[in-house]
Amino acid sequence: MSEKLFVKGNEAVAMAAIEAGCRYYFGYPITPQSDIPEYLSRGLPGLGGEFIQAESEIAAINMLLGASATGVRCMTSSSGPGISLKQEGISYMAGSELPGVIVDIMRAGPGLGGIDASQADYFQATRGGGHGGYRIIVLAPASVQEMYDLTMLAFDLSDIYRMPAMVLADSVIGQMKESVTANPRPATALPDKDWVVRGRGEGQPQRVVKSLYLGDGEMEAFHWKMHARYQELADRECRWEDLETGDADLIVTAFGSTARIARTAVAMAREAGMKVGLMRPITLFPFPKQAYAEFSRRCKRFLVIELSTGQMVDDVRLSVARDAEVDFYGRPPGAGSLPTPEELFGQIRKVYP
């Protein structure tokens, strides 16, 4: 095992991107994610890569589109206001079937909001975010180690399924420092990028990367193709972590930073003799619906916890059996709104059957 490092979540994202073979980064600074471009601005040039601080978030996402069209691994990162600006480009990438990694270190919103942790961009991330009816892969790390590991996974999934992948974290996970093992890039089998446009290869058939489909039935066919791909993702790539759910009478469920706080609250409940488990989705799209459905066959009570007034709770309600009861506890984002484990334990007591 390699040596344990002690780094910020944001730095782990940047380190993992380099390990995953990403050599091109385009971004624009915004708190609480600026450690990512800072790290890459030092790291990429020496590796023969390119770091560009674009003139805006919109420019950065379109540079990502262009770089991706040439087949290279590339990344951008931002937070709420910047991610909103990028939605047009993300939609074009989805329409052009282009891979690429987008990191969103969520902060409070709407508008400029604030720099404190938030999970209120769940809908924006998991429903595609831009126009036209598409989805992107969304991964939700809950530790600095996962910031590292899931960033590498995002690159692989993005290449395999030819769609943008998002790493969705918040300022707690981005700013905190933890011990991390810098794992080597996994040897995932990846498809050939036989669609890239490089301006070389005379006599080869023409290749076009575009999101414009005007021919009769062309656009509809594209949508059904993507629909099937999303289904394939749901069948193969759902990831989650569950703890002590086997005998649980109540399953607490949360993603990212709140899952970390909930984990200690669940431990407190277990110490008090309550049968409480934890379900933490790691992929938010595809959402692990099947896993929730299976848990709800035995356990009839769920408590969803989010740093918002409730978004993922909708997906949980759609996933569990009809006779299961889903409670919600949320703290909307903002300074001083981070719940403590003691507070969540209080909520567990309230709804415990």
Partner: protein, 180 residues
């Protein structure tokens, strides 16, 4: 075993470096660590806070509502956070700047270390955070002093490594100041 410690003071007292030092020491001992700089509205008033959680297994929540140990370096933080310490917990205060007079803190082990004074005795008031770390290690036994000393190499940038002997002295002075 899971340990958590909350450190608070004002900007410039080296609160974040103290948290980093404890973190590196815990890693040196093979533990998992979460270091969370606590952002709040207070940052505008010049307060600095952090929480360090370390454990052999999972560190769980980086957010701690009622810490088992608090290290408090200034009065403002004492007034605000001392009462949050878990029943039966430890509160280490910088008694040069913090007075606990008239404050009822039942079921808490209050340890007073005149950190600023001792740091001045050593010739540099900036050593206050090192005294705090030494006092934490001695009061809790959660980390070995040797681990803190070893951790200085990682917590301090290379250009400041010449100051390691002075920092070691301060860590030891902090440990010695804790009543046995």
């Amino acid at each position: 075993m899971r340990h958590d410690v909350f450190i608070a003071g004002y900007g410039g007292q080296g609160v974040l470096l103290a948290g980093n030092l404890l973190s590196y020491a815990a890693i040196h001992e093979g533990r998992n660590v979460s270091f969370f700089p606590a952002y709040g509205v207070e940052k505008r008033g010049g307060s600095a806070m952090c929480t360090v959680v370390f454990a052999d297994g999972d560190t769980g929540s980086p957010v701690v509502g009622h810490p088992s140990v608090s290290v408090i370096l200034n009065q403002l933080s004492f007034d605000k956070y001392a009462s949050k310490v878990k029943p039966g917990g430890i509160c280490i205060i910088n008694s040069t700047l913090v007075t606990s007079d008239g404050v009822e803190l039942p079921d808490m082990n209050l340890i007073q270390v005149p950190m600023n004074q001792r740091a001045l005795d050593l010739g540099d008031v900036r050593m206050v955070n090192m005294l705090a770390c030494g006092a934490y290690a001695a009061a809790t036994g959660a980390l070995a002093l040797e681990s803190l000393e070893e951790a200085l190499k990682k917590a301090l940038p290379e250009r400041n490594h010449r100051l390691i002997p002075a920092n070691i002295q301060a860590i030891r002075a902090g440990a010695d100041a804790v009543p046995h």
